[in-house]
């Protein structure tokens, strides 16, 4: 074969290898629609929202960025409207049992439905921020649910996971990030 004919073939094979490599990575759990968070390295933005567990509208338990835990925790964005959150929920309960501090952020939800959801399925969260309009969600760059922010002991966001956390991705990747947050 002449050299001239070899070149397109080589390019073709290279492109095929690139595609194969990306397919392999997708298969390993890389999701190309996951975006890197612009919030990594920053503190939780300023907010002032009610707790999901407020007894009623008149008696407000307020949560602000200043009274978030002074230790490492996960901020889990969820909603009772979100089927993937339902899938994720059993593992959240398990993480809570393992001693991972979980703060929930109830995103664009109805208060009663959300409370019913937790009453039926169990509550893994130490506190749940009620964000019905998604204002804190917007400041955090949330674009769907579930999303989970890893916050270290200094209050800095060190990682954002888009999508469901399960035993597999926890063991493969996320547990290590959680250890770093401590």
């Amino acid at each position: 074969m002449s050299k001239k004919l070899m070149l397109p073939l080589v390019i073709f094979i290279l492109i095929c290898m690139m595609f194969l490599y990306q397919l392999y990575r997708n298969n390993q759990g890389e999701n190309i629609t996951d975006l890197e968070s612009a919030m990594v390295g920053k503190n939780i933005p300023e907010f002032k929202l009610a707790s999901l567990f407020n007894p009623d509208e008149t008696e407000q338990i307020e949560i602000t960025n200043h009274n978030m835990p002074a230790q490492a925790y996960l901020l889990n964005v969820w909603g009772s409207w979100c089927p993937a959150c339902f899938d994720e929920h059993p593992f959240m309960l398990e993480l809570n049992k393992k001693g991972v501090l979980l703060i929930g952020m109830n995103y664009k939800d109805d208060r009663l439905k959300a409370r019913q959801w937790l009453a039926n399925l169990g509550n893994p969260y130490k506190q749940v921020i009620f964000d019905p309009k998604g204002s804190l969600g917007f400041d955090l760059g949330v674009y769907g649910a579930p999303e989970t922010f890893f916050i270290n002991k200094n209050g800095k966001i060190i990682y954002r996971h888009v999508g469901v956390i399960n035993a597999e991705n926890w063991a493969n990747k996320l547990n290590k990030i959680w250890q770093e947050a401590q």
Binding site: L7, T33, L35, E36, S37, A38, M39, K108, G134, F138, D139, L140, G141, Y143, G144
Partner: protein, 135 residues
């Protein structure tokens, strides 16, 4: 025969009114202070990319997050923010991904340099081939 025709027209009119009412319902209703502000709103929402659907601008997308972002653009315009301030506001939260015109920095250099590099590679091969032919 005439009667049939009239009916057909009537049905057509009915359909167009139903369809137009439907399309009206799908777009959000904003009241702008002046035409320039409206123009700006359209410009900005076409330059912002939907993080959920990825290959739509927020103007073209009806994903929940796009609706939120359009509302935010409107809100910020009402507060008197200019185009660049609004785009920066979005980038601060959603990253450079969200802009169709990302700034030039170490993280985005590949976006800007790739076309030039590809062009150089292409012209290199083209020139080499021409040399071969000249021989």
């Amino acid at each position: 025969m005439i009667k049939f025709r009239l009916n057909l027209k009537l049905i057509l009119i009915l359909f167009t009114t139903i369809i137009s009412a439907y399309s009206l319902a799908a777009t959000d209703i904003f009241e702008f202070n002046n035409p320039q502000q409206e123009q700006q709103f359209h410009e900005i929402s076409q330059q912002l990319r939907c993080p959920q659907c990825q290959n739509n601008s927020i103007a073209d997308s009806n994903a929940q997050i796009s609706v939120d972002m359009r509302n935010k653009v409107y809100e910020l315009l009402q507060q008197g923010k200019d185009k660049q301030q609004i785009i920066d506001y979005m980038i601060e939260r959603y990253g450079n991904f969200v802009s169709y015109n990302p700034p030039l920095n170490p993280a985005t250099i590949i976006l800007w340099s790739a076309p030039i590099i590809l062009l150089l590679i292409g012209s290199f091969f083209l020139l080499r081939r021409k040399k071969d032919e000249d021989k």
